[in-house]
Amino acid sequence: MKLLDRWKILLGGITLLPVAGTAFAQTNSLPLADASWEPRGNGQSPVFADTLNAPDAINMYAAHRSHSSHRSHSSHSSHYSGSGGYSAPRYYSPPPASTRSYTAPSSTHSSSSGSTGSSTSNSLYGPSGSANNPSTTRTRPSEAQKNNLVMRVQTALMVRKYYFGKIDGMMGKGTRGALMSFQMDNALTVNGAMDTQTLNALGIRIP
């Protein structure tokens, strides 16, 4: 390149701009994907495996056929009643002059002041359970968790017109019978159990 030409480029901002413009335009028009992104020729949408519950999902409910010592099925929520609700000031004493700490009040919540919140087991977080304690649920579901799953199974069977009893979370004769009819109609192993296959067919994700 001649020196004169260089000067032309340096001085000619007007000539530089279109150059830059075309460069950008080319960048933008580059194809985002190659030919392998063509839609499938037969017009079908892509097929995905059913990932609701993987075949090797841990299902500790599969063997749960009947309940023995069964607590009231509303007991699972007793932790929350009252304390869970939306409410006007109930737990806190009037604000102290300092904003540094509040006195944690009634018997429902015993330890809160002074905590900087580094622990996840703070009593104010509510009862311990699945969220904070996944390891315990893996080995043995609580009575409340079993009830909840049975209720979802009963609801799913009810929507499909297999179950006509009360949705009570109890794996009784009616529920097991409905499960077996459902399994029969869907070519599943007929065992009256909440196994992973059956839960998948009912559209139930294992908790």
């Binding site: 950008f24 609701l52 099925h73 699972h76 929520s77 929350y80 009643s81 009252g82 304390s83 869970g84 609700g85 939306y86 409410s87 006007a88 000031p89 109930r90 737990y91 806190y92 009037p94 604000p95 904003t99 540094r100 700490s101 509040y102 809160s112 002041s113 002074g114 905590s115 900087t116 919140g117 580094s118 622990s119 996840t120 703070n122 104010l124 977080y125 509510g126 009862p127 311990s128 359970g129 969220a131 904070n132 409340a144 909840n148 209720m151 979802r152 609801t155 009810m158 179950y163 006509f164 009893g165 009360k166 949705i167 009570d168 979370g169 009912l202 559209g203 139930i204 994700r205 908790p207």
Partner: protein, 410 residues
């Protein structure tokens, strides 16, 4: 596009105040209580069920959920003494996934969490230690610590997925232990949500915060701290609190010591725009740890209306100082955004800094916007917008004018 956060409904058999997660039948079957991030029971769920669905499956009424929500006009009779909510005035306000608050004797349902919205908020308190001239939510001197409990519970009932969640007030740091507890719980229960706290930063001058925040070590937590001037007297005047400038600066440095992500927020008014370039300079020089600067159009509600004369300046009249400040920071690598400013009030070359920043439930477009082609990209207006707060520059953008936006956005 603006969807209110409350609506009137008919309520039967509500005996106590409740926070409830609204859930559809499909979700109840598929996920059960796992739709909620935290520890909840069926008794925390409100089954969202059209009347035909309940008629088809009357056994549903035996489900031990907290109650049922019929999202349409309904004058039937359930035949059981269960909590029943029906005939919402606006049926779009409460949807499956939302968390609602109900109070006996009050037909108003409040949506505390809206599924899929980026404007969800944990409201901490109505109290504040400042009294900013343009405050959109004037503080109240009341004891409202009950918000802490409510928010802790609200966290449990939210969806667990990735979303933005705000924490605001009032001044949330006034309830120090409650705020720390909520932040720790957000980390434990809502691990996928990024948290943005709005605070005036004054109380962070107490170095005790450093250890507290460091030990929580929330991976996606940021702080929006307002700074209104490069000098104490201007800033203290805007926030109506002597000593506030010094406290906020000490607080900002303590946040930096605690490795916190800090954003500086500036509300643009007659008081803050004249020295905006100096403020940008000050931030760059003295607060190098700041990750983002948001320059924000004013919200014409609350105390701002009362102080109209002192605050109002037409955005057309601060375009120069805005331009200087934006490019000063941008050229030095400090990310800048313009919030709450409609595109027609910002010079074209600043369009790429504008954001659609107004919370969805109070965001609208005015009559002048109806012929504008930029509604999909523009911040629009606050629902409090009124004639005397309207700039002379408001105008619909033509396709030609707006094509510059597409170019500048690259």
């Amino acid at each position: 596009m603006m969807l209110r956060k409350d609506t009137h409904v008919e309520i039967q058999h509500l005996t106590e105040p409740r926070l409830l997660k609204v859930i559809s039948l499909e979700e109840l079957i598929e996920q059960g209580t796992a739709v909620c991030a935290g520890d909840v029971g069926f008794d925390d769920l409100l089954l969202w069920s059209p009347a035909v669905e309940l008629q088809r499956n009357p056994q549903l009424l035996s489900l031990p959920v907290a109650g049922f929500l019929i999202p349409e006009q309904w004058d039937g009779h359930a035949g059981v003494d269960r909590l029943l909510i029906h005939s919402p005035k606006d049926p779009d306000v409460v949807r499956p996934g939302d968390v609602i608050a109900l109070t006996p004797g009050n037909s108003l349902v409040r949506v505390l969490y809206r599924r899929g919205s980026d404007s969800n908020l944990l409201f901490m308190t109505d109290r504040c230690n400042s009294l900013c001239l343009m405050c959109s939510q004037p503080p109240k001197d009341i004891d409202d610590r009950w918000h802490i409990e409510e928010n802790l519970r609200l966290i449990d009932l939210m969806d667990p997925g990735e979303e933005n969640l705000g924490i605001s007030g009032g001044e949330p740091t006034l309830y120090r232990d409650g705020l720390l507890e909520i932040l720790a719980k957000c980390k434990a229960v809502l691990a996928l949500k990024s948290i943005h706290v709005l605070s005036n930063g004054r109380l962070f001058k107490d170095p005790d915060w450093i250890e507290s925040l460091t030990s929580i070590d929330h991976p996606q937590l940021s702080w929006g701290i307002p700074l209104y001037a490069d000098n104490a007297s201007d800033h203290d005047h805007v926030v109506q609190a002597p000593g506030a400038f010094s406290e906020t600066l000490q607080g900002l440095y303590n946040l930096a010591r605690a490795n916190q992500i800090v954003e500086i927020r500036v509300v643009l008014s007659q008081l803050t725009t004249p020295r905006l370039p100096e403020l940008a300079h000050y931030i760059f020089r003295n607060l190098p740890f700041v990750r983002h600067v948001a320059l924000m159009g004013i919200e014409s509600t609350g105390l701002a209306r009362k102080h109209y004369e002192a605050l109002w300046i037409d955005p057309m009249d601060y375009q120069d100082s805005l331009t200087q400040a934006v490019y000063f920071l941008h050229n030095r690598g400090l990310p800048v955004s313009l919030y709450n400013l409609p595109l027609c009030l910002v010079p074209e070359h600043l369009w790429r800094f504008t954001r659609q920043s107004i919370s969805d439930w109070k965001n609208l477009f005015i009559d002048a916007c109806q012929q504008c082609v930029a509604n999909k990209q523009c911040s629009g207006f606050f629902k409090s917008h009124s004639a005397r707060w309207q700039s002379r520059g408001v105008q619909p953008l033509s396709t030609e004018a707006f094509s510059a936006y597409a170019r500048s956005a690259q």
